[in-house]
Symmetry: C2
Subunit: 457 residues, 2 copies
């Protein structure tokens, strides 16, 4: 009798859970239909890319993007839109940057290059020296000062093509760009050329931040295209005698005032509990920052619009945040965390989209075990929309820090095959974003925000 | 004791199965590394698209594509490469095609249009008449001759944006193009305009085959861009008085000689059992046929290359087939089946790639229940490579017919979000294919062919 009663209770609870999932699937279908039929993310992205363009921190365009996204958030239906002032690094590329390989035989090959973000300029004279190819940091350390001093170091760390997830290859080879120049400077190199972090052979230099070590000189540092890197490596392996010339005119100006942009729907039951969804508003200066991270910006705005348009009244406060300065400083994320702490805000959950607006495959979650189990229980709700691959992993550079104040953090994981064709290069333009892929990402984000709001974590 | 023995046997069999899967995962990793590192599919596709271009059946370019892919198959390592002669329809677009909407007020709007494949030309005078918008075949039947006679019918069947799988929307709305003109002719329409079968608003007309009914006149039929269709629908709903003018100069010439191209690796144990992998070599005339179906062609060639390069000696005969004339006749597929029957070939399995060279998600299978269970047992082997979504479904237009002679048939199912941006339009060019996505598809195809060959079905 007792066991029968327990069985009945179990059956009842199971039935209730099924009913709830059925309700949820109806609401998510409503969100999906709204985004797929009337979605504004693509049009908003066109504006960001074509009417504004590159939005490097501290630039006039970054300020235009602040104003434009504040307007978009209002149009999307946010109850409140406000700015969070923050100071950001203000790096400028300058007008001239060029370089070539001078062969001992007299021929010269111009390089497709660009200065790395936050790097120091060479001055108008440029720098010229013999080239040492380095294929691992261990090799650099082994060669050391005797070989490196006075040379231009060429870091040739190709992204491993056999990794199916391109971010894994980026994580591995990306160190050549972020810390390579500082490591080479330690051994007396006078400049650094980095093989672009691109998945495929192409002629575009892909920029990105480099981080100097204050103990060593800030030497000029450029990215060269993957095709140029392959060519140069071949010359060096054939023992061809050559020198490289690099000229960059970039410089770091004093920090500049800027803003995060925040749009909220105030919670109807627990307004003090906050769910943040965001991307970063700044982009590199070479392109339109369409996939990186215009996509995440307009998707976050679309989450607000979809929730309002689907007639959902969130219990908790939903905040879409356009973080400033992810690319070369992270000052926006730091400011958001600082204010959250100062205001003693309770952050339940944060969701970041900063891996491109490609077809969504799932979410990576850094949440408690209990929350992970809960979210895994929603897997079937995401299956029809393609984003049911829930894995343990990080949130992202802007949302990740919220973990330190107790939030569960999460990143949208889209298909990654095309990301490093455009990442930080002049190819990251609106034309390389698919409307349906972008909107599919947004609707899955809105669905997850809806479920976390409704059920808590 | 007996049960213990059975348990031991079970454990042994389980262990053997695990060991086999482990061997298989090593071989598939080898295939994957080969394709991702040295894959030739992308370079072969560049040649097909940029050195040859559009390859409509019966055209000089189609013949060039026959010769080029025969060469590619040899380079890929096929033991034997041969051609299968077949006669194909020879439709030509002609030089002039244009059209506009003439408003009663005097203004005129030029339309982005193209003749539908296999359609009849209007003659140099063109045709002009009032326009009747039709949103369903039921509506057409209701209006019938009294309203339709003497008019130009405008089929406005938008692809449903809320379907996540775009092929489902295409299947539903595509009837407007394939059978709409014949149905309108039945009621006396003098021409047909079809809303292009595109997932998004754009300015490109998307062609494709239409199939007349011999009982009714073969009236001119064009596709207009989705943007033009939206504009025209709006004018008609506002009751604006207007007429349409359409001029096409396409015509059907006598059937022309052409070929399927076949490349084989002869089986080492069961040479008489055949596994076919293929795509179609012909393309529409408006573009390069990069996704449709240059991708499937070069992936099929890559399957041969990958198997040879990975040092696999197939037990069965692996055949890569470049089918001719999928787009407007299916004569290549019919010839392949006819010869298979005439030669009493034993066909075990067929795999088609004709849904674009996008990131692979899985395979749709039309096989026996027993074979389906067997293939489902390989799911985990495909998980690392993204194509583990095995569903019941069809093979495709070229491979599907092999079912009638006992083969299990199967289609590669890639991500479908971008396919109908380019499908049958001038946007289907090499630049809209991703190297990594294309190669990922090829390696998953090679893995499936490897497993079917090794294990049978």
């Amino acid at each position: 009798m007792a066991s029968k009663f327990i069985l009945s209770i179990s059956a009842l609870l199971f039935s209730l859970a099924m009913l709830a999932q059925n309700d949820d699937s109806i609401t998510i279908r409503k969100i999906a239909n709204e985004v797929l039929t009337n979605g504004k993310a693509y049009d908003n992205l066109r504006f960001l890319c074509k009417k504004i363009g590159p939005r490097l921190s501290g630039s006039a365009n970054a300020q235009k993007a602040v104003e434009a996204t504040a307007r978009m958030l209002k149009e999307a239906g946010a109850d409140t839109v406000y700015l969070q002032p923050c100071m950001v690094p203000h790096w400028v590329r300058g007008t001239k940057e060029k370089g070539y390989i001078q062969m001992a035989g007299g021929t010269r090959k111009e390089l497709h290059l660009c200065a790395l973000g936050n790097s120091a300029g060479s001055g108008n004279k440029g720098v010229s020296a013999g080239v040492v190819e380095i294929e691992s940091f261990a090799e650099l350390d082994t060669l050391g000062t005797p070989v490196i001093k006075g040379k231009i170091v060429f870091f040739n760390f190709p992204m491993n093509p056999t990794y199916i997830e391109t971010f894994n290859a980026y994580g591995e080879s990306g160190r050549s760009r972020t810390t390579g120049p500082a490591k080479a400077a330690k051994y007396g190199a006078i400049a650094v050329m980095v093989r672009s972090l691109a998945s495929n052979p192409d002629d575009f230099p892909h920029t990105g931040v480099t981080i100097y070590n204050d103990s060593f000189p800030k030497i000029p540092a450029v990215a060269i295209s993957t095709n140029d890197a392959a060519w140069l490596s071949k010359q060096l392996k054939l023992k061809m005698r050559l020198t490289a010339y690099i000229q960059t005119n970039c410089s770091m100006l004093p920090d500049a005032p800027s803003f995060n942009v925040v749009g909220e729907i105030r919670g109807s039951v627990h307004p003090g509990e906050i769910i943040t969804v965001g991307g970063h508003l700044d982009s590199w200066d070479l392109a339109e920052g369409a996939q990186d991270d215009g996509a995440g910006i307009v998707q976050s705005i679309e989450v607000i619009r979809a929730i309002k348009s689907a007639g959902i009244k969130p219990q908790r406060t939903i905040r879409a945040v356009m973080f400033m300065n992810e690319e070369n400083g992270g000052k926006g994320a730091a400011k958001y965390l600082e204010l959250a702490k100062a205001n003693k805000e309770k952050h339940l959950f944060g969701l970041e989209s900063d891996a491109g607006g490609f077809t969504p495959r799932g979410f990576s979650l850094d949440v408690s075990d209990q929350a992970f189990e809960k979210i895994m229980g929603w897997k079937n709700l995401f299956y029809p929309y393609g984003a049911s691959n829930f894995t343990k992993g990080g949130g992202g550079a802007d949302i990740g820090p919220l973990k330190t104040i107790g939030a569960g953090v999460c990143g949208l994981r889209p298909d990654s095959q095309r990301y490093f064709d455009v990442h930080h290069a002049s190819t990251d333009v609106f034309e390389n974003v698919s409307r349906r892929e972008l909107h599919l990402g947004a609707l899955n984000m809105a669905a997850l925000v809806y479920l976390v709001d409704k059920n808590g974590l």
